[in-house]
Amino acid sequence: MTETAGRPKKSAISRQIVLPWSKSLSMAMNSLRIRFFRSLITTFSLVLAIAFLGFTLTGSAIARELFRIHGDAAMPLLIEAGYSLDSTGLGITAGPKELWLMVLSLLVCTVGIVNAQLMSVTERFREIGIMKCLGALDRMILRLFLLEALALGLFGAGAGALLGLVVAWAGSFVHFGALDYGQMHVFPLLAEAAKAWGTGIGLSILGVLYPAILAAKLQPIIVMKEEY
């Protein structure tokens, strides 16, 4: 007598504990809303880093567009602004120093996200433990944290990319004000901003992975311990 009639087989159980996507999403959003200030701080480093990335990428795109429109006439201004040009004429890129700064800022940003998310998980040890006591599976907890990070990434990196685009656009007039912007295509600029946006979303999710796995692995007995 080891199995009672009402107990489903192992394979069936994983389908018997559920958290619908709509409910997951509303729980994740609710969690962000209630901890709005903390969410804001977590997002802020992302906004700044992505703004810098977006600024650099869209700045280069503007430079490339100007070179496409004006050709060699734009060269002196582009060189003065710090862009280097390879032989093909397509290779206007940020200088190595800027590239280095970009990588560094993204790295610092990711570490910041990991740190903030670890704090967030620690704060919610008890809450996670309670959900585990009520039957939540590891993957549900994981999903909640990933959804939160996705939302933070969408909004934070979106704001950052937009900020970078606007600043790069406005800033370009300082160097290239003398040139005509008339025939400039907007699409390459937006593509670079989108690249920054995507990178930001990726970093936000990358940064939450370790904390979220930590949270998902928490044992329900944690709620019995007074210190949390």
Binding site: I13, S14, V18, K23, N30, E127, L134, L137, I221
Partner: protein
């Protein structure tokens, strides 16, 4: 008549290693709990009471021995099955209420039903019904921070009943409540036990609990000191209190 044992604890030991010293918290406990019974586990702090309680709830694994819930050895269960067990078979009530602070009373009560796959509308209906049952029908939208301790514990009881569990495990349910609120909670638990035939297992210090218990298990130094039935209790309750009082200051 054959008694259906909803919980069977067989030769359970638990050893924690505290630094290099092994601490034997439970030294071989056997216990059987009949379905529908109201059982209290009494014992001073450090007696192994909480550890035994956690084992029965599937929150902790024994070092040796077995714990059967509804004749299933829970040490053999994997993570999914344990989650299922916690979701459907067991309702937990805690000393510190342990409601999810960011959710309303109703959301707290419906969460286990959502996990169990119930549709949103059905869960809300059932949740409202359960909150009515515990006397909080009007306050379903309140957050835990807007409720008193007694009210929070009522929400916790409603949540524990969410998926019609076979067992309710109550860890010091009156520990953070004043005496009269505690008495109300005990009365509510007793009512649930009678009306819904739920097995209630409660770890407690509270002597008010004894009056409503069918049996009381006394734990001392990691072993069962004695098990008393209600009729034996009412005779000796005065002396019990004297004997055990110094341990719970």
């Amino acid at each position: 008549m054959d008694v259906h044992h909803i919980v069977r604890v067989v030769a359970v030991t638990k050893t924690f290693s505290l630094g290099k010293m092994p601490v034997h918290v439970l030294k071989g406990v056997d216990l059987e709990v009949a379905a529908g019974e109201y059982l209290s586990i009494m014992g001073p702090s450090g007696s192994g009471k909480s550890t035994l309680f956690n084992m029965i709830g599937g929150l902790d694994r024994p070092t040796s021995g077995r714990v059967f819930i509804d004749e299933v050895d829970i040490s053999q269960l994997d993570a999914y099955e344990l989650a299922w067990l916690r979701n459907r078979k067991i309702g937990y009530i805690f000393q510190t209420f342990n409601l999810i602070p960011v959710m309303s009373a109703l959301e707290n009560v419906t969460l286990p039903m959502i996990f169990a796959g119930m549709s949103g509308d059905d869960a809300v209906d059932k949740g409202r019904g359960l909150l009515d049952l515990v006397g909080l029908g009007e306050r379903f939208q309140h957050k835990p921070s807007e409720l008193s301790g007694g009210q929070q514990q009522r929400v916790a009881i409603a949540r524990a009943l969410a998926n019609d569990p076979a067992i309710i495990l109550a860890d010091e349910p009156t520990g953070n409540l004043d005496s009269s609120t505690g008495a109300e909670i005990i009365a509510l638990l007793q009512k649930m036990s009678h009306e819904r035939q739920v097995t209630i297992i409660s770890a407690t210090h509270d002597f008010k609990m004894l009056n409503v218990s069918d049996r009381v298990v006394w734990i001392r130094d990691g072993r069962i000191d004695k098990i008393e039935h209600r009729d034996e209790l009412s005779i000796s309750i005065g002396t019990i209190q004297e004997r055990h009082e110094p341990a719970h200051s």
